[in-house]
C-alpha cells in the first residue's frame, strides 16, 4: 500500500464511519439542558487515583462574608504549608448530591435501574424481581427494588441515582436486611461493621472501581457482625455486601472516596459545615498535564476539579458540600475571570477572588466560596476591572458532574 492508497483508505474509512455514526434521537436539546446552561459545572477527572502529589503553591482568597463585611485570606497573608489534609474521623456514605458512581448505563433512571439489577442478579428478572421509581427530579432519583412471589415480599431495598456527566448513575444500593454501621475513613483506613437480621452468611468485599477486591478485603462467609478494616490507597472504592448461602437476593454497595492526597494547602478555614482546605496537586497519575485543585473537608476529599487548558467553554462552579443551612462552592474558571460573586435572592452578595496555578498561570484559575443555602442564586464571573463577563444560576443540588 503506497501513501496515496493509504490516504484514500483513511478518507474512505472516516467517511464510512461518519455515515454510520448514530445521529437519530434527541431531535431537540434535552429539556434538562436549559437548566444545565445555567448551572453546569465539571468535576470530570477521576483524581481519586492520585499517587503522592507534588506540592505546589497557588494561593487562594476566600471570602465568606457579605461584600460589605469581608474577611480576606489572601495569598500573601496566608501561609502555604505542605501538610496533609486533616485526618479526623469522617462518617462517609453516599450523598445524593456528591455520591460517586457505582454503575452506569445508557438511558433514564428506570433503564439504569433495570440494567443495574440485571448486572447484579444473574437470573434477573427472576425470581420475581421488580423495581419502581419512587422519586425522580432532573438530577437525582431513587428506586425501590423487591423480590418475592405469591406468598409475599421476600427482600428488597433502595437504589439511589444521580446524574453525573449527563448520565444516570447508581451511587448507592441497599438491602433492607443488611446494615452498615460505623462506616468511616480514618487515617486512610476504611472501617465499618456489617450486620444482618437474616440467617444467611454475609460476604463483604472492598472493590476498586474496576471490580477487583482490595488485598485482604474479601470477608467471604464472615461471621456476623462482619468488621471491615482495610487500608485504602488514593482511589475511590466500593464497599459491597451480599447475603450468601441462601436463596434471598441482596445487594448493598456504597461508594467511598478515601480522600485527597497530600498537597499544598492553599487556604483553609471553617465554614458552617466544618473545616475546609483547598489543596493543590500536580504530577498525579491519570491527570495528564492538568494542574489540579482539590477541596478537602474535614479530611475527606470532596469532588475535585482540575484546571484544563483555560480556554474551555465553561466556567466550572458547583457545590462540593452542604449542610442544612450553607453550601460551599468550589470551581475553576477561565483565565479572564478575576473574581466570582454570588448574589442571593434577598440581595446579599458574597465574593471570592480567583487564583491561578503557578505551573500554568495562563490556564484555569480556582475559586471557593461559602454561602447560606438557598434554592437558587446568581453567580457572576467578573473581570479584573469589575466587568461582568458571564452570569449563571446556581442551585444547591444542581447538575453535578462525575
Amino acid at each position: 500500500m503506497n501513501d496515496l492508497e493509504l490516504e484514500e483508505r483513511v478518507r474512505r474509512t472516516l467517511r464510512t464511519v461518519g455515515d454510520h455514526t448514530p445521529v437519530s434521537g434527541e431531535e431537540s436539546l434535552p429539556r434538562y439542558s436549559e437548566a444545565l446552561v445555567a448551572s453546569r459545572r465539571r468535576w470530570a477527572i477521576p483524581v481519586g487515583a492520585a499517587a503522592a502529589a507534588v506540592a505546589l503553591v497557588i494561593g487562594a482568597v476566600l471570602l465568606v462574608q457579605p461584600d460589605d463585611d469581608v474577611r480576606v485570606s489572601s495569598p500573601s497573608s496566608s501561609t502555604p504549608s505542605t501538610s496533609p489534609p486533616p485526618t479526623a474521623v469522617v462518617e462517609v456514605g453516599s450523598d445524593v448530591i456528591m455520591g460517586g458512581p457505582i454503575f452506569s448505563a445508557n438511558g433514564g433512571p428506570e433503564e439504569v435501574v433495570d440494567a443495574y439489577l440485571a448486572a447484579r442478579f444473574p437470573d434477573y428478572p427472576e425470581p420475581g424481581v421488580t423495581s419502581e421509581l419512587v422519586e425522580a427530579t432532573d438530577f437525582v432519583a431513587r428506586a425501590s427494588w423487591a423480590t418475592g412471589d405469591d406468598s409475599g415480599r421476600l427482600a428488597g431495598g433502595t437504589i439511589q441515582l444521580r446524574r453525573i456527566a449527563d448520565r444516570w448513575t447508581v451511587i448507592e444500593a441497599t438491602t433492607d436486611e443488611v446494615h452498615v454501621e460505623n462506616l468511616a475513613v480514618t487515617d486512610r483506613r476504611l472501617r465499618a461493621l456489617l450486620t444482618s437480621t437474616r440467617d444467611e452468611q454475609l460476604r463483604v468485599e472492598v472493590l476498586d472501581l474496576d471490580g477487583n477486591p482490595l488485598p485482604g478485603s474479601d470477608r467471604s462467609g464472615a461471621v456476623r457482625p462482619a468488621g471491615i478494616d482495610v487500608p485504602l490507597g488514593l482511589d475511590p472504592v466500593v464497599l459491597r455486601a451480599q447475603l450468601v448461602g441462601g436463596t434471598m437476593l441482596s445487594i448493598t454497595e456504597i461508594y467511598i472516596d478515601p480522600g485527597a492526597p497530600t498537597g499544598t494547602v492553599l487556604a483553609e478555614g471553617q465554614w458552617q459545615g466544618g473545616a475546609w482546605q483547598i489543596l493543590a496537586a500536580d504530577n498525579v497519575p491519570r491527570l495528564d498535564d492538568s494542574p489540579c485543585g482539590w477541596v478537602a473537608l474535614d479530611g475527606l476529599a470532596q469532588s475535585p476539579t482540575c484546571g484544563v487548558d483555560g480556554d474551555g467553554v465553561f466556567h466550572a462552579l458547583g457545590p462540593v458540600a452542604a449542610d442544612e443551612d450553607h453550601t460551599l462552592y468550589f470551581g475553576s474558571v477561565g483565565r479572564e475571570v478575576a473574581s466570582v460573586r454570588i448574589t442571593l435572592p434577598d440581595g446579599q452578595a458574597f465574593s471570592a477572588e480567583s487564583v491561578p496555578h503557578p505551573t500554568n498561570p495562563d490556564g484555569a484559575r480556582f475559586v471557593a466560596i461559602g454561602v447560606p443555602r438557598v434554592e437558587s442564586a446568581e453567580a457572576a464571573f467578573l473581570a479584573a476591572d469589575g466587568q461582568v463577563l458571564d452570569t449563571v444560576t446556581i442551585q444547591p443540588a444542581g447538575a453535578l458532574g462525575g
Binding site: 464511519v17 436549559e34 470530570a44 448505563a105 456527566a165 448513575t169 484544563v308 467553554v313 449563571v392
Partner: protein, 149 residues
C-alpha cells in the same frame, strides 16, 4: 441569552454533522454525544455574541474532543464504550487502527481527510503551526501504515 427555541433550531440543524465529527475525533459514540451536548450548552450561553454558529460549534467540538478523554468522569469509566462498527472489514480494521492513534495525530487526520481542511486550518484548530499539523498527520499515517501492514 438567545431564546431557547433559536438554540434548539441550530441544534436540530447542526447536531448530526457535529456528532459525526466528534465521533471521529474521540473514537467513541458516547463521548461524542457528551461533547456535542456540551458544545451546545456553551453555544447557548454565548449565542448572542456568536456571529458564526457553524464555525463556533465546530471549534468547540474540536476543543472539547481534545480534552474529552481527560474530562471523562468516573461514570463513563464504568460504562462500556460504544464504538461505531460498519461490518465492512477493511473499514473496521482501519477505524480500529485510527482509534489507537495518539489523540492529536488522529485529530489531524480527521480534520485533514474528513473535513478536507488545509494544514493551515488544521493547525489553527489544534492550536499549533501548520507545519506541526502536517507533521502530526504524517506521523499518524506512518503509524497506520505500520499497523495495517
Amino acid at each position: 441569552m438567545l431564546p431557547w427555541t433559536e438554540v434548539d433550531a441550530v441544534y436540530r440543524r447542526l447536531r448530526p454533522d457535529l456528532l459525526r465529527l466528534a465521533n471521529l475525533l474521540t473514537g467513541s459514540e458516547s463521548m461524542a454525544e457528551d461533547v456535542v451536548h456540551d458544545a451546545f450548552l456553551g453555544f447557548a450561553r454565548h449565542a448572542t455574541t456568536v456571529d458564526n454558529p457553524d464555525g463556533y460549534l465546530r471549534t468547540s467540538v474540536v476543543n472539547l474532543s481534545r480534552t474529552a478523554h481527560r474530562r471523562r468522569g468516573r461514570a463513563e469509566r464504568l460504562t462500556p464504550e460504544r464504538v461505531t462498527t460498519t461490518s465492512i472489514p477493511e473499514v473496521d480494521e482501519t477505524w480500529a487502527a485510527l482509534r489507537r492513534l495518539p489523540e492529536r495525530q488522529r485529530a489531524a487526520l480527521v480534520l485533514r481527510f474528513y473535513e478536507d481542511l488545509s494544514f493551515d486550518a488544521v493547525g489553527e484548530l489544534l492550536g499549533c503551526p501548520a507545519a506541526t499539523a502536517r507533521s502530526l498527520a504524517h506521523r499518524g499515517l506512518a503509524r497506520l501504515k505500520e499497523t495495517l501492514r
